[in-house]
Amino acid sequence: MSARPDPEALVAGALDRVAAADGTEELRMLEAELAGKRSPLAAAKAALAGLEAGERRAAGMALNDARRRLEEAMESRRRELESSERQARLATERLDLTEAVPARRRGHLHLVTQARDRLEDTFIGMGYTVAEGPEAETDWYNFEALNFPAGHPARAMYDTFYLEWGPPESTLLRTHTSPVQVRVMERSEPPIYVVVPGRCYRVDTPDASHLPVFHQIEGLVVDRGITFGALAGTLDAFTEAYFGPGFRSRLRPSYFPFTEPSAEFDITCVFCKGEGCRTCARTGWLELGGCGMVHPNVFRAVGYDPEVWSGFAFGFGIDRLVMMRHGIDDIRELITNDVRFLRQF
């Protein structure tokens, strides 16, 4: 007969070893050794079969109790070890997020593009579509169809780059976006509500406020019953939508061959909000662009009947708008392509 196993003796040593386990891995091996299939506890349990019933019951209870205590000790030790191991691991993973991180650079849209997109979006919100046209143009689209007959003195208002293409002075770089008015009217029927953004060219020696290349946006509306009052109202609505509440526009008589009546339009000075400052020469207004009612001769040139349709057009410089908005005092900054400039916006 084998000696009756002493569960207490079995467990006492095991508990010490569990308490001394130095890591979850060691503990896992201990678990197999002390409580697994080949452990002394397992052997002791198997040996119970040889005892007589009364003794077996008491021994079994003692054995179960010993196993329970051992398992509790192992579970508790495992939690302790897991926690301290996690702490240790996290400690080694510590990152100072204010240290230099690998750069992932985002690029920047050019200021002029940003302004152009915003302007387009403002007019889209007012029910306009966006039209475009070529930068190299014919005399017909740039001048003739816009009521500037050959030799017209008003052509002198537009210093024109001509291209060596076809007969002399027949092809040019557009001096304004207005040729697209003619192209749009030629290819579609009223009602027309479009804006035309784009690059234009004039013979101007570069200085702080001039470049031979610049950007304009132009609007054209042709419909029944369009009045000069509608032009004034539209520009006012645009001004408020683009610049914000409190910004107004006003019209002053001017002259463009392709509109009549013609006007310059001013907006509330963006610097002083109309109070009067140096930039606006204390008037509270800044000149933004030109506008007017489409001249009947322009309608005739595209085959519209001016007795049926009426309309207005307006245009202004995007670059100038950008300069006003961001306080840029030299337009040449816009074309340096220096990333110290480009990345500011």
């Binding site: 050019h110 579509t129 008003a154 291209l163 002075e169 000069f228 008589p253 990333v339």
Partner: protein, 806 residues
């Protein structure tokens, strides 16, 4: 146009504050560019009589002068000018005066002599006449009286106006006054100089002091000549010289000044000739003959041609270019006593052409080319005579007047309702007449709702109903017109192409590139430096400088310039992009094409990156824009690295190039390192077929991966092998990733190993091992057969494979 306020008041009783005058002018479309106070600082300057001039011991440049300043005692002054004598009347700036130039006058001693004030030269008083000597005043003035009063030189305000090209009438003080008076409801009157002699109805034949012949009545609508004798040429009276100066013109002599004064006042340019130096005592208006030339008043010899109109003398020699500038031959000088004044009306377009061709602009041409008033000529001639009368001028006979062809000014019918339709106002016939009549239009009722409007000859810009509508709006006030906002019946929005362009920009921004704006103009050298053919470029006929005489054929010159700039400034390896137009002579040279080839291009350039970066960016764009079918074809493109470049080919041909910039091109720009390059024709790219937008179900069944490594020739593009894999695998291939490229000892010379992970998946079942084995077999067989490849290894894959066909 510079307009002194005091001059405006000669024609209309303006009593508004200058700010109100300026605001009114602005509102009338005569934009006020500046308001300048002038003539201040003369308060302490008085008329004095020179009593005695004495030498100062030890000084040889200055003298001691004693003057009578109207007080009980003579005033001592030290003076360095020598142009005056005892008894002369001169201006004295008394102690404490601050002169117009800011100089402050104090009492001092020079070489021991006391000086209590300063005798003044004209410029020190803000007058024309320079600094050559003290201003000697006309006799008869009272010592001690203020100089400003004595000379009629009160302080004044000068308004500088920007006059639009359609308003030559407002290029005169009277014209500006007429607008102001009409708006403000004030009376307005032109000067009424006496006209002593009736005009001779000269047709050139009538005997007169001067003969006039007009050979070209179409271009010279009216020509009036007035002879004036007995003139003593000298300086103009100070008030007149000063008015000219304030209006921005230099005083020259009384004859020329009177002519200029009349032009500024009435808008009618005139030209005085010295009759004694006008051979044949006659004037003849004719076209220039080929090869003719003359020396103009500015001393320049000018060649004229048969489109130019000349004023010739009685012997048919050129004496001036009609409407532009007089000749030097009969210029007024101090010996002149007899003058013939020309006052004419010339065809505006003719003057504009001549002025433009000769690049010669003058105050006269600026007015004639916009259209003057042929009826104001008589008044202008009389005014000239009146102004010169104090200099002894006597008209000899009446003006000789030859009338040719003047514009037809038929009255215009104005529909009252039309005004409201176009302006959005509800003005009645009476209100409209009230706005137009004060401007010189004459309105008369002409049936129900219609006015017949006679047009004033000084408003040649007004010819039709729409011009009258503008005048009505202008006089009524743009700001009083009720505003409304028309509601667009359309749906606003961008076109697909415009949306895609924005998307493309955002993709590039997301890829870390900054957007540049480069010059459209380049030089031949810029193109050559980029390996581009200058002969393809469109030429600018009138460039600002020769280095900007071509239009860019590619965005390459601009972006490389920008990269070089940033490198020079040590700003690191920049990535830039641009969307812009490029221009080319058409290669399919059809000479009747109206316009050059114009392309909206998109380019990306990354410094310090090689061709693979450009390809990677292309992948972003192609995916972002859902470009359906494209391939890379290794080609040599201008400016591109010869062995690191490819053409991007879509369904309908090339859409751009991708790769690296040629190292020689980089060296020519002084750029260190490599530059990745991508340039696309946006229109062609976005017109190409786009990826399917129908939903493809995501398979819920497991996928299986295998790795395949093939040894292939260096000349076989990986893309072709990949296409074969995709084709051979059919719809079961749901992912392909090239994960390794190996060159070295393990492979044959001129060959490399390419290894892919291929992912198989079926939409409707789990693939069996047999399925995968069969597919694998097809792939390997096809690649070996088509590309002369050999399979190096094959394994079960364990990599991540990007979803979907890439």
């Amino acid at each position: 146009m510079r307009v002194p306020l005091s001059w405006l008041r000669d024609f209309t009783p303006l009593d508004l504050r200058v700010e109100e005058v300026a605001a009114t002018l602005d509102d009338l479309g005569l934009a006020v560019e500046s308001v300048e106070r002038v003539g201040e600082g003369l308060d302490g300057v008085v008329v004095v009589r020179v009593l005695e001039i004495a030498a100062i011991p030890g000084a040889d440049r200055i003298r001691a002068v004693r003057v009578d300043a109207g007080g009980p005692e003579a005033v001592p002054v030290v003076c360095g000018a020598w142009n005056f004598a005892e008894g002369d009347l001169v201006p004295l700036a008394t102690v404490g005066t601050v002169l117009p130039g800011g100089m402050q006058i104090g009492a001092r001693r020079m070489k021991g002599a006391p000086s209590e004030g300063m005798l003044c030269a004209p410029d020190e008083l803000g007058l024309p006449g320079g600094h050559d000597g003290i201003l000697v005043l006309a006799p008869g003035l009272v010592p001690g009286s203020p100089v400003a009063e004595a000379l009629g030189l009160g302080p004044d305000t000068v308004l500088e106006l920007e006059v639009n090209a359609n308003r030559p009438d407002a290029m005169s003080v009277a014209g500006v006054a007429r607008d102001l008076a009409a708006r403000l409801g004030l009376p307005f009157a032109l000067p009424e100089p006496a006209r002593s002699h009736p005009p001779s109805t000269g047709d050139g034949l009538a005997p007169g002091p001067v003969s006039v012949e007009v050979e070209d009545p179409e271009r010279c609508g009216r020509f009036v000549a007035q002879v004036v004798a007995g003139i003593t040429v000298g300086p103009s009276p100070p008030w007149l010289a000063q008015r000219l100066a304030r209006a921005g013109m230099r005083a020259i002599n009384n004859v020329v000044d009177a002519s200029n004064y009349v032009m500024l006042e009435l808008g009618q340019p005139t030209h005085p000739y010295d009759l004694a130096r006008l051979p044949g005592r006659g004037l003849r208006v004719r076209r220039a003959r080929p090869g003719e030339s003359l020396v103009t008043l500015d001393g320049v010899s000018r060649a004229v041609g048969d489109d130019d109109l000349l004023i010739c003398d009685g012997e048919d020699q050129p004496a001036g270019i009609a409407g532009v500038m007089g000749g030097a031959s009969a210029e007024i000088d101090e010996a002149t006593t007899e003058v013939v004044l020309e006052a004419a009306w010339f065809d505006p377009l003719s003057v504009a052409r001549t002025s433009r061709r000769l690049k010669l602009r003058s105050e006269a041409s600026a007015r004639f080319e916009k259209g003057c008033d042929w009826t104001v000529i008589d008044r202008a001639v009389a005014r000239f005579c009146e102004l010169l009368a104090p200099a002894g001028a006597e008209p000899v006979g009446g003006p000789v007047d030859v009338v040719g062809l003047v514009p037809d000014r038929r009255p215009v019918c104005l529909r009252v309702a039309r005004v409201g339709e176009l302006l959005g106002t509800s003005l009645g016939a009476e209100e409209i007449a009230g706005l137009l009549d004060p401007l010189g239009f004459t309105t008369a009722p002409a049936g129900e709702g219609v006015l017949e409007v006679a047009l004033p000859p000084w408003r040649l810009d007004s010819t039709g109903e729409i011009d009258l509508v503008e005048e009505i709006a202008r006089l009524y006030g743009y700001r009083r017109i009720p505003a409304s906002v028309p509601r667009s019946p359309l749906t606003g929005g961008l076109t697909a192409r415009q949306r895609d362009r924005r998307t493309a920009r955002q993709i590039l921004v997301g890829a870390g590139a900054d957007e540049a704006w480069c010059a459209t103009f380049v030089g031949e050298a810029d193109l050559s430096r980029c390996g581009l053919d200058p002969a393809e470029a469109v030429v600018v006929a009138n460039p600002l400088v020769a280095e900007q005489s071509r239009l860019r054929t590619s965005l390459l010159p601009g972006l490389l310039g920008a990269i070089a700039h940033n490198q020079r400034n040590r700003l690191g390896e920049v990535s830039l992009f641009e969307v812009g137009h490029t221009f080319r002579r058409r290669r399919s040279s059809t000479p009747d094409e109206e316009l050059p080839d114009e392309v909206e291009a998109l380019a990306y350039a990354a410094a310090g990156a090689d061709a693979t970066d450009a390809v990677a960016v292309w992948h972003l764009l192609a995916e972002g824009l859902a470009v359906a079918d494209w391939r890379l074809e290794a080609t040599a493109a201008p400016g591109l690295h010869p062995t690191r470049g490819a053409t991007l080919v879509g369904d309908e041909g090339a859409v751009g190039v991708v790769g690296e910039v040629d190292p020689d091109v980089l060296a020519a720009h002084g750029i260190a390192g490599r530059v990745a390059w991508l340039e696309l024709d946006l229109a062609r790219l976005l017109a190409a077929p786009r990826g399917p937008d129908a939903y493809r179900p995501v398979s819920r069944f497991p996928s299986s991966d295998i790795d395949l490594a093939f040894e292939v020739d260096e000349t076989t593009p990986a893309a072709e092998v990949e296409a074969t894999l995709r084709r051979a695998g059919g719809p079961l291939v749901v992912g392909l990733a090239l994960f390794d490229v190996y060159r070295g000892d393990q492979v044959g010379a001129g060959r490399r190993s390419l290894a892919w992970t291929v992912r198989f998946q079926a939409p409707d079942r789990t693939l069996t091992d047999d399925d995968v084995a069969a597919a694998r077999h097809r792939l390997v067989a096809e690649v070996e057969r088509r590309h002369g490849a050999t399979l190096r290894s094959s394994a079960a894959g364990g990599r991540e494979v990007p979803a979907g066909p890439s």
